[in-house]
């Protein structure tokens, strides 16, 4: 059966370090529609995820390489990214 929600999750900096991987395929259930809800769903996957997402408000998110807010819907996304506030420049 074709699943709309199958996508790649990518993690950077201490989010990546806490989870212990830089990316993975995820397949969230249909009632999860925003990236904010996705953070909540991911946080329940295990200790390392709970640690990475312990303060959801500091997590920045991108859908298909564009910054989005936590209330953005991810339907149709190929890649959703989670990372700390940026410190480049």
């Amino acid at each position: 059966m074709y699943r709309m929600n199958r996508m790649k999750a990518v993690y950077f900096a201490w989010v990546r370090e806490r989870i212990g991987k830089s990316d993975e395929e995820i397949d969230p259930p249909e009632y999860v529609t925003t990236v904010g809800e996705l953070i909540g769903w991911l946080a329940a996957r295990g200790e390392e995820y709970a640690y990475a997402f312990e303060k959801p408000s500091v997590i920045r998110t991108a859908i298909d390489r564009k910054h989005v807010r936590h209330d953005a819907k991810f339907a149709g996304a190929r890649e959703v990214a989670f990372f700390p506030p940026m410190t480049g420049g």
Binding site: A81, M86, T87
Partner: protein, 154 residues
């Protein structure tokens, strides 16, 4: 059209600035900003820059396109390095060219402010004492610097 590059190799600020004015005589002002790695009073051994490949380039291109919309620029170059950088080494370069100085200055500041808060790069510090360092925290001051352009209060 801006030139944007994400690379681990060092850059040559002078060559990039020269490229923006080569063969043209209508440029009156060139502003070059170079961001360098500080040793934090001798504590820091290396700075490690992680980035989001693909998005880093696209995001800086978006910021550069916005700068070109806001100011009458004759050239924009932005280069951001990733990987390990030693104190004294280059991290980021922004060059803007315009007929007049105010546009060149403001566009360069704008680019740096947004590059700091929107370009997906993260710095991790490796210390001289061998401890492997903290991820650098984002600064409220940087958010405030970027916000001033949104509020039109500059």
């Amino acid at each position: 059209m801006a030139t944007v590059r994400i690379q681990s190799e060092d850059f040559d600020a002078a060559a990039e600035a020269a490229a923006l004015t080569a063969d043209r005589k209508d440029v009156g002002a060139v502003v070059t900003f170079t961001g360098l790695c500080r040793d934090e009073a001798g504590r820091l051994a290396t700075l490690e820059l992680e980035h989001y490949p693909g998005m880093a380039e696209e995001e800086i291109e978006r910021v550069a396109a916005e700068a070109e919309k806001r100011w009458p620029l004759m050239g924009v170059t932005a280069i951001h390095r990733y990987g390990k950088i030693e104190p004294g080494g280059n991290i980021v370069l922004v060059v803007t060219a315009s007929a007049h100085r105010q546009a060149a200055f403001e566009a360069a500041e704008f680019l740096m402010d947004f590059l700091k808060t929107r370009a997906p790069f993260w710095k991790k510090e490796h210390n001289r004492d061998g401890t492997s360092g903290e991820w650098v925290s984002a600064k409220d001051a940087d958010d405030a610097a970027a916000d001033r352009w949104l509020q039109g209060n500059k």
